[in-house]
């Protein structure tokens, strides 16, 4: 009995010591393998695969392994990989998930020389003022933006006319109108919704819901949590009235509005999404795209809004793993540069994938202006700010999501839901 125990303990000890040793560093002159982890996007995949082929011709010693995951899986995977000290050479995530890597020193400052800039200031000057400030930390820039995206409202004109509305005139400018219009569009069989006017993009509360709160005078702050109870309760009440406990216009368990939108099946009139949706409509349903039966309208505000705020914009930034050997890091920046900064690539990302790199050259150029409804997005950009990416962003988002589901699905009183939310948010922030 004792023997077995001792043996087992010995085993465990040896194993522990084996695993405690780090991996050896590869030498700089050897062929370089880049691990590139990114989220699924079929149009971008086509484009970047071409870039990678071209890049390999320029650098024959480089192999690039690409790993594509759905956005949510990617975030979890990268965290797990970093936790075990592994991780890709470079990757991208939304800024609200990515900022923590900068704070923890897990990603490397930009290699300005490789990228062709003098210094951080020079790099920042390439972009629209303030738009990539999120990755400017302690005097260095830590990532290059693949996209900066904001969401406006996509609208199906046919469904509007089918409900007896004139899309050009009757499109909702306020949230109250959004509710009224949706009431006219919605079709139900008993309680069962078969056609929706609009539905929210649930589980992205930091992007679509915080601006609604802000319009009413509230905010989310890293110091005080959910500021201004009155505004929050009002916004939550709006959500409650939207859901099955109120007017029954939509809810988070139904198929995501933006997925239905492209199919043009007369089951959704409006959805909340970014410019990239245009490329997706084209690839999913070219007939609908070409019919011109869709349009984009600005992000609504509340009638009694105290502040004009549109949906937040978020960014995906390419960042380089600071734990990798210097040569690998440099090559990663080299490839990022090839992706993003090569002449004409920004325009291709825009026209073929619908991604906006916030460079001055692109956003003030002719290609951007020629993109359908880019003006709407540009105007919404002007009245929006970047998404909350501070402490506990992911957890706070789930807490808000949970509060919204409580009021919508379980009929919790918005004031009670707010109190619980505020307690949770403060607790997350205090940790």
């Amino acid at each position: 009995m004792k023997k077995a125990l001792v043996l087992l303990l010995c085993l465990v000890m040896t194993l522990t010591s084996v695993f405690a040793q780090g991996a050896s560093e590869p030498k700089a002159d050897e062929p370089i393998t880049l691990e590139f982890w990114t989220h699924e996007d079929s149009a971008r995949q086509v484009l970047e695969e071409r870039y990678i082929e071209e890049f390999k011709q320029l650098h024959p010693n480089v192999t690039v392994n690409v790993t594509r995951q759905s956005a949510e899986k990617l975030r979890e995977l990268i965290q797990t990989a970093f936790a075990s000290g592994e991780g890709p050479s470079f990757f991208n995530l939304p800024i609200e998930n990515e900022f923590q890597y900068i704070e923890a020193g897990r990603v490397a400052p930009a290699d300005y020389k490789t990228l062709g800039f003098k210094d951080a200031k020079d790099l920042l000057a390439n972009y629209q003022d303030g738009m990539i400030d999120a990755v400017y930390y302690d005097g260095d820039v830590y990532g290059l933006p693949l996209e900066l995206t904001n969401w406006s409202i996509f609208l199906n004109k046919k469904v509007f006319r089918d409900a007896g509305l004139d899309p050009e005139k009757d499109y909702p400018k306020t949230w109250e109108e959004m509710k009224e219009v949706s009431k006219k569009i919605v079709i139900r069989d008993g309680d069962i919704i078969t056609r929706r006017g609009f539905d929210f993009r649930y589980s992205y509360e930091l992007t679509y819901f915080i601006p609604m709160v802000e319009q009413l005078g509230g905010s989310l702050s890293e110091k005080d949590g959910c500021v201004n109870k009155e505004a929050w309760v009002k916004a939550l009440t709006f959500m409650k009235e939207w859901g099955p406990q109120g007017e029954n216009l939509g809810n988070p368990t139904l198929t995501a509005a933006r997925k239905l939108f492209n199919k043009d099946n007369n089951d959704i009139a409006m959805c909340n999404t970014g410019l990239y949706q245009e490329a997706r409509i084209l690839s999913d349903n070219a007939a609908f795209y070409n019919s011109g039966e869709w349009m984009v309208v600005p992000y609504p505000v509340f009638e009694d809004a105290v502040k004009d705020v549109a949906g937040c914009y978020y960014g995906h930034f390419y960042m380089v793993n600071a734990d990798k050997p210097k040569a690998e890091q440099q090559m990663a920046w080299e490839l990022i540069k090839y992706f993003l900064l090569t002449e004409g690539h920004a325009e291709e990302y825009l026209t073929q994938v619908g991604l906006i790199q916030p460079t001055k050259a692109l956003m003030e150029g002719a290609t951007y202006a020629a993109q359908p409804y880019s003006e709407v997005f540009k105007n919404d950009f002007a009245r929006s700010h970047i998404v909350y990416y501070g402490k506990g962003a992911t957890e706070i988002q789930s807490a808000i999501n949970s509060a919204i589901k409580q009021v919508m699905l379980q009929g919790t009183d918005p004031s009670v839901a707010y109190d619980a939310l505020q307690k949770n948010v403060l607790e997350i922030l205090a940790d």
Partner: protein
């Protein structure tokens, strides 16, 4: 090596017996014991997935879990969710599968019993991902299950809120699980029933006892070990449930009502980066499962010798 001469056959054999278990022991040492010890050590730290350094904080994680809300998804709520799911699933499952097994055993045509066995078992061969995918569509307000509910309740256009209402959501996860595993447990009981020597029944029939009486007085007591084994297996499986709830939440349902411990571990550790806290939850789950198994061993002690 002086003792070698003294080695009797038994000692030789003991060596062989131990040698045979070594591959498995080695395997479990690396892939179970090492990780769980490592998880226990992590549970005493404030380790974060991304931060490079962490400190030992003693039992703070455990204290936190029992006193704080973990960002709105508290351990207490998870214990409740797991408890509701486990009790709501394994008791009906054991009872119903036992009844079904008895019913199938009574069918006189072997072809029929075979058909029912096959049909009941089929859902169990689907992967959980497929099962959850199918049921997420069925539970939609426009989906088949809601239509059937309207048909059964003789109502029309009613939304039974299979995925939106708190309690209905809990029931939905139970239904999926029940659907997937009912056949599996029925087969386990059939196995148990088949192992009861037919002579016992024959004797009972000669005695003139009714079927009901036979079942109650003879079958059930003889089946007790099987029932215990199946119950504990079903219960442990329910305590470990993950994929159904996970797929549901991914599909947009509320998390709280079905936030079972395993899912909370996943969200706290993998999504929210708090490895220390999530490890503490893992250890708590481990202890709970150990406790129930221990309880089962205790109560089963007396029955262990029953073999037939």
């Amino acid at each position: 090596m002086k003792h070698e001469k003294k080695f009797s056959i038994e000692k030789q054999q003991a060596k062989w017996g131990f040698a045979f278990t070594i591959p498995c022991l080695l395997f479990f040492a690396v892939f179970s014991f090492y990780p769980i010890i490592s998880a226990f050590i992590t549970s005493l730290t404030n380790r974060d997935a991304i931060k490079r350094t962490w400190d030992f904080i003693g039992l703070d994680n455990y204290v936190y879990l029992f006193t704080q809300s973990n960002g709105g998804f508290s351990l207490i709520n998870s214990l409740k969710a797991t408890g509701i799911f486990t009790i709501g699933t394994f008791i009906p499952m054991v009872v119903v599968s036992l009844i079904l097994a008895v019913m199938i055993m009574q069918l006189r045509k072997p072809g029929q019993s075979k058909m029912f066995e096959l049909a009941f078992y089929t859902p169990a061969v689907l992967s959980s991902v497929v099962a959850a995918t199918i049921w997420m569509i069925l539970f939609q307000p426009t989906g088949l299950f809601n239509q059937l509910s309207n048909f059964v309740m003789r109502s029309s256009g009613r939304d039974f809120q299979w995925l939106t209402n708190d309690n209905m959501l809990r029931i939905s996860t139970i239904i999926v699980y029940f659907w997937k595993y009912i056949g599996y447990f029925t087969i386990l009981f059939i196995t148990g029933l088949a192992s009861i020597p037919p002579t016992i029944y024959e004797a009972a029939i000669v005695d003139g006892s009714s079927r009901w009486h036979t079942f109650w007085k003879i079958t059930l007591p003889l089946l007790k070990p099987t029932i215990m084994l199946v119950s504990i297996m079903a219960m442990l499986q329910c305590l470990k449930t993950f994929s159904t709830q996970y797929m549901f939440v991914q599909g947009g349902t509320a998390r709280e009502p079905i936030d079972v411990i395993t899912m909370n571990i996943y969200y706290t550790g993998v999504v929210n980066r708090r490895l220390g806290r999530s490890s503490a939850m893992s250890i708590i789950l481990f202890v709970i499962m150990l406790f129930f198994t221990f309880l089962q061993f205790k109560t089963q002690k007396g029955d262990e010798d029953v073999e037939y």
